[in-house]
């Protein structure tokens, strides 16, 4: 019996907790991609860099606060700097729209054209980020590292297997829940939110209902900027901030958005968790877990791992391929054309 409890604790510690935190981060990223897709109708290749930009601004403000001796006690100071990061990133999104995307929207260019344009934006943002903060790894987490540690947990339960939850993991989940709840309240209950959904559903009909497209687009970028800044900061807090990782985050984020159904916000969240959990489930070595469940003293020979962690990104790709082959509109039937 105790073995089974230990096995469950082991899985929780190494699989459920990290995957949940990662799922929250991916979901927030995918929400941004899906909103841009729903309203502006293109896949924004610059979204990873937008996240990195948001995280960078937050880091800069964190440093400023730390320099002035402001901290948040057990919580990371970055939380205090986050609103500034969100505001600046939202401003950046509005600015890129004004300078870059608006022209193509007005001339009704093909979506793939906007995609190429977003590659240009990606380049510029990437360069700016490296120029300002450099390409190196930045750790900007401070405050208490853990909500509770393995030792605490063992002392409480007397189990041999431990469980720890990092502050940053808790934060990812809490912030994501608050943000997503606010977003859905906005989309479902407010007039502006409904007009955004209407515009995403049927642009022509929205126009002739008197909905102002420029306003919808501006609100969308505002939200996307905020989401991106939060997603980037949470990811950076939980792992570390390294500019080039955000380019490789594009793949799992797009996979999450497509799996859920491009343009569908609820789908993006579900997709984020599907991708995160598959990634962790398939790259986790089950050797110790099986040893708990098997007869006393027995251990599997190998690591019992489906896929080496080196191929983490392959998992999102395979999920993507399966979805494209089986149901190209995604689980929640987003747009496919």
């Amino acid at each position: 019996m105790e073995d089974i409890v230990n096995a469950v604790v082991l899985l929780t510690n190494f699989l459920v907790v990290p995957a949940t935190a990662y799922g929250c981060q991916l979901a927030l990223g995918a929400l941004g991609v899906t909103l841009v897709y729903g309203v502006l109708r293109f896949s924004n290749f610059a979204h990873g860099e937008t996240m990195a930009f948001g995280a960078m601004v937050t880091i800069l403000f964190t440093w400023l606060l730390q320099y002035q001796g402001v901290t948040l006690g057990p919580l990371p100071t970055a939380l205090l700097a986050l609103p500034a990061g969100m505001a600046v990133t939202a401003g950046l999104c509005l600015l890129t729209d004004r300078w870059v995307f608006r022209f193509y929207r007005r001339s009704r260019a093909q979506p793939v054209m906007l995609l190429v344009v977003s590659v240009g934006v990606m380049f510029v943002l990437n360069g700016i980020i490296r120029f300002v903060i450099g390409p190196a790894d930045r750790v900007f987490t401070d405050g208490a590292r853990f909500l509770f540690t393995v030792r605490d947990f063992k002392a409480w339960t007397g189990l041999s297997e431990g469980l720890a939850i990092k502050t940053t993991q808790t934060l990812s989940v809490v912030v994501a829940i608050i943000l997503v709840a606010a977003l859905f309240w906005f989309l479902e209950k407010t007039r502006t939110g409904k007009s955004m959904r209407a515009f995403s559903d049927n642009e022509d009909l929205a126009l002739l209902s008197g909905i102002n497209p420029e306003r919808v687009v501006a609100v969308t970028w505002l939200i996307v900027g905020c989401l991106a800044a939060v997603a980037g900061t949470l990811y950076g807090l939980d792992k570390s901030f390294k500019p080039f990782t955000f380019l490789s985050l594009l793949l799992p984020i797009f996979a999450a958005a497509i799996v859920g159904g491009l343009g569908n916000p609820l789908g993006a969240i579900v997709g984020g968790f599907v991708v995160a959990f598959s990634e962790v489930l398939l790259t986790y070595p089950y050797r110790k877990f099986l040893a708990y469940l098997g007869p006393e003293g027995w251990r599997p020979d190998g690591l019992v791992q489906f896929l080496s962690t080196d191929y983490k990104f392959a998992v999102s790709f395979f999920i993507l391929v399966v979805v494209l082959l089986v149901k190209p509109t995604g689980i929640f039937s987003g747009r496919s054309s």
Partner: protein
């Protein structure tokens, strides 16, 4: 959205632009020769030639058919792999240690696929069919891995500091250019099969994924091409500098020119590469132009400009797109193999999407999508700018921050970061060209 081809609204004058622009390019390279060194100028030119070929490949996909390939990096890396597999000598000990296991595991993989297909055909009920296929694939996967893992361990244990991989076929390295094209074509076929026929963005995202996976595979599968340990010393298709310097005739020739044998040998070697690459470029260029003028090319552009109409006329758009996607990727693969040949090594960690995917895109757009000459010119210009922007940026930053004093922290930071400015410059150039001259330097010719 309207179906009008709003992609190329601006028509630039069709004056003798082409020769003028190419002459300007030649002058720019000459400038490096005079200002810096001829050896450097040739190095730049060789990479320009390779870039031009890659750009040609992407232009076949984008310019002819409007397909967005975000996986150029992966196809180029496959070309590099071909360089290793074709030219390096086989490692006999490694083959004896684990060759059979790897081959068996691969065979097991093929058997699994065949079995899965058989099960899929035999079973009718969708639910049981999916379950059965999943079971067969899982069983095959674990069986293959059981064969594969010990074999890989054995192979990687063979003299790990020098080999630790199976090696190649020991054939002339030039053959790898064909092999690279073939490998890339195969991968492109798989990627295209999955994602073509769906919306355009899906192809972009699928190719992005494939290229990430290809590079991860090349990094971590050491038994294949040593992974991050790199393969160095690929045999060359041209003479080695030391051999030239050792030859009496060469030394005499250098003396008669009044040049040092060391410098001259390096220039001669680079010229040899340049000749080979130019030959490939000319052949590909000729083929691309012929294709563009053929009924096939006309059909491709008709499809690009109005997919719905082409479909209504009974054209199989998806099949044509697959064709053009495979062809373009093959050209990228060829360029990738040539790059490994020039470098004389295969280093998977150097494949970075900004450099190998998105920079190539800047080349295509700047040069002029849909025009092969434009693509080639774009490859030259952008590569040149990419390389020369670094010293230029440093120099400029030095000049600008000079008043701050040598050790001012801001100056130090700016000097350190100056190199990243070229990313910004490339992005801005891309955006400006797209906005104000969407046809690029050499616009597409309407035939």
């Amino acid at each position: 959205m309207s179906d009008t081809p709003a992609r190329f609204p601006l028509r630039l004058a069709r004056a003798p632009r082409k020769p003028l622009l190419f002459a300007a390019m030649a002058a720019l390279i000459g400038l490096v020769g005079i200002g810096q060194s001829w050896s450097l100028a040739l190095t730049i030119m060789n990479l320009c030639l390779i870039s031009a070929i890659m750009t040609l490949g992407v232009n076949i996909q984008w310019g002819y058919a409007g397909l967005f390939n975000a996986g150029v990096m992966g196809f180029a890396a496959l070309g590099g792999l071909a360089g290793v597999l074709v030219s390096m000598p086989p490692v006999g000990a490694a083959w004896r240690a684990g060759g059979a296991g790897v081959v068996l595991a691969l065979a097991m993989g093929l058997v699994t696929i065949a079995a899965a297909m058989l099960v899929y055909r035999r079973l009718r009920r969708p639910a049981s069919r999916k379950l059965a296929v999943a079971l067969v694939v899982a069983a095959g996967y674990f069986a293959a891995r059981a064969l594969f893992e010990p074999a890989v361990r054995a192979i990687e244990g063979v003299d790990p500091s020098r080999t630790g991989y199976l090696g190649g076929f020991g054939l002339p390295v030039v053959l790898s250019w064909f092999a690279g094209g073939a490998l890339a074509a195969g991968a492109a076929w798989a990627a295209g099969k999955i994602s073509l026929g769906l919306r355009a963005d899906y192809l972009a995202i699928a190719t992005l994924g494939i290229s990430e996976i290809i590079v991860a595979f090349l990094k971590y599968e050491e038994w294949l091409a040593r992974g991050v340990k790199n393969v160095t010393g690929l045999p060359r298709p041209v003479p080695y500098e030391v051999d030239l310097q050792a030859a009496a005739r060469f030394r005499e020739w250098a003396e008669s020119l009044g040049a040092s044998p060391v410098e001259l040998s390096s220039i001669v070697v680079k010229l040899c590469y340049a000749g080979l690459f130019a030959l490939v470029l000319l052949v590909l260029m000729w083929l691309s132009e012929a294709a563009l003028r053929s009924p096939w090319g006309r059909m491709m552009r008709a499809i690009r400009d109005n997919e719905t109409a082409a479909e209504a006329m009974g054209k199989d758009v998806t099949a044509r797109h697959l064709q053009v996607f495979v062809l373009g990727s093959a050209v990228v693969g060829i360029a990738g193999a040539m790059l490994a040949t020039l470098d004389g090594q295969f280093t998977p960690t150097t494949y970075h999407p900004l450099r190998f995917t998105f920079l190539i895109w800047v080349m295509v757009i700047v040069g002029g999508s849909g025009n092969n000459w434009g693509a080639v010119l774009g490859g030259f210009m952008v590569w040149y700018a990419w390389v020369e922007a670094e010293p230029l940026g440093l120099w400029l930053m030095d000049l600008l921050t000079f008043p701050l004093g040598a050790d001012h922290p801001l100056r130090v930071h700016l000097m350190d970061s100056a190199a990243h400015m070229r990313l910004v410059v490339m992005g801005v150039v891309l955006l400006l060209v797209l906005r104000f001259a969407p046809q690029g330097l050499i616009p597409e010719e309407r035939r």
